[in-house]
């Protein structure tokens, strides 16, 4: 399946990417699995490893790690929010 991934704030700066389009194998079917998949790129990408303080949204709604990722989803990763 094909998804769009967005990165924001300090995570965007750490990774050096604001967004990318990915084609995923069918085994990567949850937010947690996607994070693990990306963290395996190594280097800066280890910022996405399990246990790091990263939040996720799918199609612009906050989601937990077990939420299912579907074809054409827009998935965002970012640090805890600090607005207001």
């Amino acid at each position: 399946m094909s998804i769009k991934v967005l990165y924001f704030a300090s995570l965007r700066e750490t990774l050096g990417y604001s967004h990318e389009t990915l084609t995923l194998p069918g085994t990567i079917d949850t937010v947690a699995a996607l994070r693990g998949h990306l963290a395996k790129r190594g280097g800066a990408w280890e910022a996405l490893q399990e246990g790091r303080n990263v939040r996720a949204a799918i199609n612009q709604e906050m989601v937990g790690p077990e939420t299912v990722v579907r074809d054409r989803d827009e998935i965002a990763f970012f640090p805890p929010v600090t607005g207001g």
């Binding site: 300090s10 612009q60 709604e61 906050m62 640090p79 607005g83 207001g84």
Partner: protein
């Protein structure tokens, strides 16, 4: 007028507050909150803040603020709500966020206004980066914001 605005431009708090009760006789209470850039805001130790840059997630910010308002309306009896959040580069003393809530009675207006701010602080995708003489630094999320938001969960 939309009740949520995410914008670079400054806003007119007087006009926004007045609009919440204009031309109606049922509003008895308007509670507002205004958040400003502090010059002495510290992420840990550090020096004076010379400017603040707010990044956000366009689209999701508006959706999340609208969802927070809908949640507030389900909890209290409200007659009008307005939320404005700025992004981009802001100087100390500049306005960041405005929340205004109109109701018949003050209890509902106060509670909903504080609830919206607490949820905004933990659920709306904005991130602050402070400029200091030593360079930029991302503001860390505060534990106290999580506990403020969790007060509202039953």
């Amino acid at each position: 007028m939309s009740r949520v605005s995410v914008q670079e431009a400054d806003f007119d708090m007087a006009a926004e507050t007045a609009a919440l009760s204009a031309g109606r006789g049922d509003v008895g209470a308007v509670a507002t909150f205004l958040g400003l850039v502090r010059a002495d805001k510290l992420s840990g130790e550090g020096s004076e803040v010379t400017a603040m840059t707010l990044e956000h997630y366009p689209g999701m910010t508006e959706k999340s603020l609208e969802a927070i308002i809908v949640e507030a309306e389900s909890r209290w009896s409200l007659l009008g709500v307005r939320v404005i959040h700025r992004h981009g580069r802001l100087l100390p003393g500049e306005r960041i966020v405005f929340v205004g809530v109109a109701s018949a009675h003050r209890g509902d207006a106060f509670a909903a206004c504080e609830f919206i701010m607490d949820y905004l602080k933990t659920r709306a995708p904005f991130w602050k980066k402070e400029d200091t003489p030593e360079g930029g630094r991302w503001v860390d999320a505060r534990e106290s914001d999580d506990s403020a938001a969790s007060r509202w969960e039953t």
